[in-house]
Amino acid sequence: MSAVSEYVHNIKDTVSTIFEGMAVTASHFMRKPYTVQYPDRMPVRVQDTLPFRYRGILDVDLEICTGCLACERACPIDCIVIVAEKDQQTRQLLLSQFDIDIAKCMYCGLCSEVCPTGSIHHTTEFEGADYSLESLIRRFVQDPVMAYKAKKGPETDPRIAPILNRGMAYLDQWAQPGGEKPPGEEPA
């Protein structure tokens, strides 16, 4: 007798728990889906919806690069190659090569953390597929350019000032060692 009642009980349990689960599934028909149809049915590009700190493919603003090589030294896998030489006549630093091997890069952010001007920075771009490894090496210097020299007061050149502001805003996101003021966060 008890075997039979246990058998019936088990069936009852099974059916009722299945219906409980089904109820959950059914309730989800009414909810807004969390998935999006990437890439072609998005109202806005995914890149534009990503947070500011998103670590996508690196970009360099050569206008504000000081040629300090801090990023090259910080990178654990040497995917940044910079050639900077002192020009004999003008005695200024000349950047003749600035390559980043995107194929090697692991988007760790150690290079952009140490940059003094926010020149090397992560963009929100992540679609990096390409047909050859060669084209994944981003060469930022076409013709040798003069390295940026930090000025004492605020930047006066109207061409460079907005770029520098962008760089500084980027740097503000990083935690300052021992710094008291976190970016925009009200103390709890």
């Binding site: 998103y54 021992g178 976190p182 970016p183």
Partner: protein, 372 residues
């Protein structure tokens, strides 16, 4: 009357098998459907991470620690950070510790979600996996906003964390937790208490407490056997002593103590506990700096140290030997998955081949963590 002669069969499972959670290989000796034993063969995901540490230096190794266990990378980050800090005697600012705990507990929820979802999927229930992935996605969105990456976080630094909480993040995180607690109930209704599911897991792969200790199991696998051992409570680190939370242990409610169902339920309950810790941490987080001043050219004094953190897969040990130069002399990581692999051979005897998948899933083995 002579009995029918049966022959033992040797089966190869993996390394590329869809249900083995990564690149694992088992050599299964089976008699029909019943296994005599399943011998784990590890090493397919060995990437010499410990050796890399000797080449890239202390700061440069942080992104590599993400790859030790990519499902809960915050803990590997934290372990490495803590090992370096202990050696160099660096004190992490209070807010930095809170940020670490918040990030890590979110990561624990995400890791356990994946574990319980994958377990259901391995058994054949596809729907729960979509549910947990949705929840994990929301956590990933939060973490992405915090540190810019979804999987390989590289969030922590020697001496603290790299980014403070962004504006408005706290409210978002609290809102998510409000949403998460009912979801956990809903998830339980969806699958956890489902009779078929319980029957499938109960009494499968029973580990006795003595066995668990002998085989060096850690984390949820150990606690499922009824042993209350949680590094966060027993060898407190970071700011964990400031929070109130329970350590869930298995109780054999559905079958024998230490079966697959116990391991499953411990993970479910741990998520609720993590949610509790997160609420307290988000409420109590003090203002201040998040990163201690550490010299750029970090060189800890010669010596050695051992650090233990409670990761999603249990007690994770970081052993670091320094010779006073800018590069570690030796690094060793002790992970929970490796220990869990060891017991599979013992547990598999007498199980059905189909149960092997349940067993692996219930031990929450992550392939990269086994080999490193």
């Amino acid at each position: 009357m002579s009995t029918l002669r049966t022959e033992e069969m040797t089966l190869n499972m993996g390394p590329q098998h869809p249900s083995t959670h990564g690149v694992l290989r088992f050599v299964v000796r089976a008699d029909g459907e019943v296994m005599r034993e399943a011998i784990p063969d590890v090493g397919y995901l060995h990437r010499s991470i410990e050796k890399i540490a000797e080449k890239v230096g202390y700061r440069g190794f942080m992104p590599y620690t993400d790859r030790v266990d990519y499902v809960c990378a915050m803990f590997t980050n934290q372990g490495w950070g803590m090992a370096c800090e202990k050696l160099a005697g660096i004190e992490v600012p209070k807010r930095g510790e809170y940020c670490r705990v918040i990030a890590a507990e979110f990561n624990r929820i995400a890791s356990h979600l994946l574990s319980v979802g994958a377990m259901a999927m391995d058994i054949g229930a596809m729907t729960p996996f979509a549910h947990v992935i949705r929840e994990r996605e929301m956590i990933n969105d939060l973490i992405e906003e915090l540190c810019g990456a979804r999987l390989t976080f590289n969030y922590m630094r020697i001496g603290g964390v790299a980014w403070d909480l962004p504006p408005g993040w706290r409210e978002k995180a609290l809102k998510y937790l409000d949403h998460f607690d009912p979801i956990l109930e809903e998830y339980n209704a969806l699958i956890s208490w489902n009779k078929i599911y319980v029957e499938r897991l109960a009494n499968v792969g029973v580990i006795t407490p003595a066995e668990a200790i002998n085989y060096n199991l850690v984390g949820p696998n150990l606690r499922a056997c009824g042993i209350k051992w949680d590094i966060r409570k027993d060898i407190p680190y970071s700011v964990y002593p400031e929070f109130e939370f329970e350590v869930p242990v298995g109780n054999g409610q559905w079958g024998k103590l230490g079966d697959s169902m116990d391991r499953y339920v411990v993970r479910i309950r741990e998520m609720a506990e993590s949610s509790k810790i997160l609420r307290q941490a988000l409420q109590k987080i003090p203002p201040g700096a998040v990163l201690a001043k550490v010299v750029r050219n970090f060189k800890p004094p010669a010596g050695e140290c051992q650090i233990r953190v409670e990761s999603g897969r249990g007690d994770m040990g970081w052993y670091l030997v320094s010779d006073g130069t800018g590069y570690p002399w030796r690094v060793h990581v002790r992970t929970g998955s490796f220990a869990a692999m060891g017991i599979i051979q013992k547990l598999s005897a007498g199980l059905m081949i189909a149960d092997l998948v349940t067993l692996i899933a219930s031990l929450d083995v992550i392939a990269p963590e086994i080999d490193r």
